[in-house]
Symmetry: C2
Subunit: 333 residues, 2 copies
């Protein structure tokens, strides 16, 4: 294992501390318990948005803390849910009196720990709602999940709900917007290589020199099946077909197309995948009106990509276009 | 070799075409000859900025085309200089009557081909100036270079000169600003793994399971030496020490610190490197007033990072802070 780290057990703390130094204009970092909040938190009268989960998926979630998106991110250990304590502390730190929304990826540990944190926060008279993101169509249950997993669609939930909160929507409205995104977003991914968790020291699974894993989870959890390596267009079809089947788009609908890198794949390859996915959608009479291509929900250095499609309407498009000022996503402001 | 590509010889064209589709609000793509220009090019009365070079370093350069940065990027084949023809065509496409500045990384092929393109453009009555970026302190000459190589510091030249052009500075002033950045920026990088050029089919060099290459070039050219894998803080010192020695900073000076990923390194590791480099600078009494952390000048899927330090003054800081609207760097607007 070769990594730019010191002690494997310090990597999350050192990394988040470095992140806080690099982006001091956007965020503040609490190291004990460990969480990241926007620099001006709490914002009086604004609904607070908190997300979090295991580390190793950067820029998710800390990279999305700032004006127009998350108020707080709570990083757990690598690929490990944060405990309730930092989630509760982050919730209290961003409560501006209008309530707090937890955006939780659907993994058993995350769901339980955010639930406990919400109960603790409610005991302190903070109103908390939760939205569970489960956009991954690959498998119904998996190693760490009952039901579908939450993957790259989470970024879209955070951006769009964040814009709703920023413009002053109340907790019920922000929650409803987040649920609308969850109901209309679907993803599926592929791994070309495994990744290595620092304290594990070796790859989390084995993949042959000439095979890829279709439907991979963002922790390297098994997907649907292994297939021989194939041209990018064919692999993109294997990701896009189940997404389209599940989303049941009609001609004339508008979508956002996100091609997400797993961390170790060159940008040039992501744009090849994007080009083919977009042509496929256009052939179906679906209009790709918004796009995002890059490493947004990663699995450390894993090579691979995921394709996410979000059905848009006027409201979601307007909220997507709203200004945002975070380390990993910036527009306007 | 496992890559998300179709025919290895089509990857650049397919990728740039996908890029153009994804970012149609920012850029236009010409496929024959192949170049990318900002959507509103040419901008009447504004100095045009053109850069380019071999592909495989994305987001450099196409990711930096847009308001406040480059007017055009010319992608060559993978790790191969573009020929004079597309450079000349891009130069003509962005000429708004105020002249064009070529920003060229110091590689023999790039320098020659941009020179020829400049002569051809001058024959069409376009005034062209050139700035050669040579920020890599690792080696004096190398496989493809006479003199120092141009690496991640190029992004800073493009951003700062782009801001000067955007505010209406004339060709001499924009050129002088670019030269000021070149004179004050230094970089050095490390590779943990090699990368594989698609049409090559296998890694461009061999690196043992427990060694890293200090001073690596962005095409995998040899660096200063191979050393055993070591903690991130030690490796960061091996990169930063030669940079600091060459830059000869004094206490009280202000700098921009860029930690650049080579493409396959997780963000979490880049922030570990950033944290240590920043502490080192602060221990010297140098103030890190601006920061950039991420994959900006890559070598396909290579794992590794580079550290870049730019000495700032009031002018450079103001130009760095100016709005920019490109696929890979966005602020304001």
């Amino acid at each position: 294992m070769k990594k730019l780290i010191n002690d494997p057990h310090d990597v999350v703390l050192e990394s988040v501390t470095g992140f806080g130094r690099a982006h001091g204009d956007l965020v503040r970092v609490s190291t004990d318990p460990l969480y990241v909040v926007r620099a001006d938190a709490p914002v009086r009268g604004k609904v607070g948005l908190v997300s979090g989960g295991g580390s190793g998926h950067e820029p998710l979630h800390a990279g999305f803390v700032g004006r127009g998106m998350l108020d707080a991110a709570v990083p757990g250990a690598m690929f490990t849910s944060p405990t309730p304590e930092p989630v509760q502390a982050a919730t209290a730190a961003v409560d501006g009196g209008a309530g707090v929304l937890h955006i939780v990826k659907n993994y058993t540990g995350d769901v339980l720990n955010f639930e406990t944190a919400a109960e603790l926060a409610e005991a302190e008279d903070i109103t908390v709602r939760s939205v569970i993101v489960n956009d991954d169509v690959a498998v119904e249950d998996s190693l760490y999940t009952a039901g579908r997993r939450g993957v790259a669609g989470t970024v879209l939930v955070e951006k769009i709900a964040g814009a709703a909160a920023e413009r002053g929507d109340d907790l019920d409205t922000v929650t409803a917007v987040a649920e609308q995104v969850v109901a209309n977003v679907r993803s599926m991914g592929v791994a070309l290589t495994a990744c290595t968790v620092p304290h594990g020291g070796r790859p989390s699974f084995d993949l042959g020199e000439d095979e890829v894993e279709i439907g991979i989870g963002i922790h390297g959890e098994p997907g649907r099946r292994r297939v021989p390596m194939a041209p990018a267009d064919d692999i993109t079809d294997l990701l896009l077909d189940p997404v389209l089947e599940d989303l049941a788009l009609s001609r004339g609908e508008e979508v956002l197309l996100l091609v997400n890198g797993m961390g170790g794949t060159p940008m040039s390859e992501l744009y090849v995948v994007y080009g083919h996915a977009r042509r496929r959608l256009e052939d179906l009479g679906v209009s790709v009106t918004r796009s995002l291509v890059g490493n947004y929900t990663t699995s450390l250095e894993m090579q691979g990509a995921s394709v996410t499609v979000l059905r848009l309407d006027g409201t979601l498009t307007e909220l997507w276009d709203a200004p945002v000022q975070t380390a990993a996503l910036r527009r306007g402001l």
